[in-house]
Assembly symmetry: C2
Homo-oligomer: 299 residues x 2
């Protein structure tokens, strides 16, 4: 069973399909790379390309994506709802199989250095690859966005990049390169039209409110369904099991007299997380994902 | 994503490792075959080889296994606890991916015909491949075992094989060839030392007692653990979800004042079954196994 690193770059282009196609093509042209998913969002004017490879091919694929984006995207003419500071805006590496987080930090550091040196783009290391605690959180790294960073990078000492010039690239901006655990996007819909209930539950259960570690949560109104939603990102399911997240939301909802209407996983979920839920639900002793038939077939 | 058929032959040899190795080698020598598991049981004097392939390689692998077993195993000198009628005793084909049960019935029929014609072994088609309802159940097909069948095959009209001579092979006996769904072996341990409770629950929930469809169940005493166990085989998890099986056992146990101590999956479980449990537990809408990250990587 070989090593598998996942890379999930976010690019500041969600409308011109030919641009996103060209970026994806430059990544997939690297031997050993497999693209799993390409998602474009026109409102956010942003796209996310998910691909996997071993440590060597993933570095080359990530660099080629950064290079193509820097040639085709001009942030001076870019607008969209999502905050951004670069053509390639965020570049996280995720350990999937037979590779550690420490090794993914090394990969991020090495690719970040190369992007800065070869493309002249300032690079900030974030999350597990951060060199100072204040840069762990992406929101912190990206504050001010492209336009604000153009000023602050030269004038504010704490805005010095980890690699590259203290001057944003004229068209490609700056980029955050990091390493993180697989993220699970999980929404629970509540049988209520009271947005305040979803917001109150989100505030109570999220990590920033003293709730569950590694959980981000917001309350939303699903007007067309007549429901409200607790929308979550779980950034480390090995610390906070997804089953625990569900149980907490249900408990908080029931304490407010509200029933869970249903839930959804957005995008992908690691096999280990699915096996963990199965093991907890069935009270399984010693269940491992290697007991999944298809895993034996595929690996 | 290619087609995947699983084949799980049972051979009447569980003590001489060199014989089982030679059978496994003859199967794995067929291009396109991947062996997932080899299990030998000395008490039962029986072994189970699990392998996968596409429809063409699986037929060749199964035939080569049957041929090698017929050359190396002599049922006249075989004894063990498990009922058996052939050197290769049972040969089921299981649809895993991009293949239907009907196609697995065709495979079973074709391999069965070839085993009878080339090796001179009488073949009985069973489960989904059965040609008459009475032959669906393996226990029924195998009644009397090797020794009994030697007499009854020629004298009793309902013992006529589907293919091959009305005379058992002098050393290799006869074989049951069939098609079936993946089987899940699932045990639930109860925090009690009262064997009668486990037996009563088993009788109530199993299909033969009017309980859950496609469920077989027995009660066992786990003396060294001080627990009793409901030991089950679920032969079609798409009809009876595994989560339902667990819920029923727990409910029946609690009705008798007994707590579930834990449970275990023996051997392999299909990814779809694990995803089904996850979806039911989290009340997920529209969750599919294609959302499992590793499935995207491997397929």
């Amino acid at each position: 069973m070989g090593e598998v690193v996942e890379c999930v770059p976010n690019f500041s282009e969600g409308r011109r399909k030919e641009v996103v196609d060209q970026i994806a093509y430059s990544i997939s042209s690297v031997p050993g790379i497999k693209i799993l998913d390409v998602e474009m969002d026109a409102d956010h004017n942003r796209s996310v390309i998910t691909f996997v490879g071993d440590r060597s091919s993933i570095q080359e694929g990530a660099f080629q994506g950064a290079k193509t984006a820097s040639e085709l995207i001009d942030l001076n003419t870019h607008s969209g709802e999502h905050p951004r500071m670069g053509a390639l805006d965020v570049l996280p590496f995720v350990p999937i199989q037979n590779i550690t987080m420490e090794e993914c930090v090394e990969i991020a550091t090495s690719v970040g250095e190369r992007i800065a040196r070869m493309l002249g783009i300032p690079v900030y290391l974030y999350e597990s690859a951060a060199t100072v605690p204040e840069r762990r959180r992406l929101e912190q790294v990206r504050r001010g966005q492209f336009e604000g960073l153009r000023e602050s990078i030269a004038t504010e000492s704490d805005r010095q990049p980890d690699f590259g010039p203290t001057k944003v690239h004229p068209t490609a901006g700056a980029v955050a390169v990091g390493a993180r655990m697989p993220l699970i996007a999980f929404n629970v819909n509540l049988d209520s039209s009271d947005l305040e209930i979803a917001k109150a539950i989100a505030r109570k259960i999220r990590a920033s409110g003293g709730g569950l570690p590694h959980l981000k949560a917001l309350g939303f109104d699903l007007k067309e369904k007549g429901l409200v939603q607790v929308s979550m990102n779980l950034t480390d399911y090995t610390v906070t099991p997804l089953s625990r997240v569900f149980d907490e939301v249900r408990r908080e909802a029931e304490a407010r007299g509200v029933r869970v209407a249903g839930s959804e996983i957005i995008g992908l979920i690691p096999l280990d997380a699915v096996c963990d839920i199965t093991a907890r639900f069935l009270k399984l002793d010693g269940f491992v994902s290697n007991q999944v038939l298809e895993r034996r077939i595929w690996c």
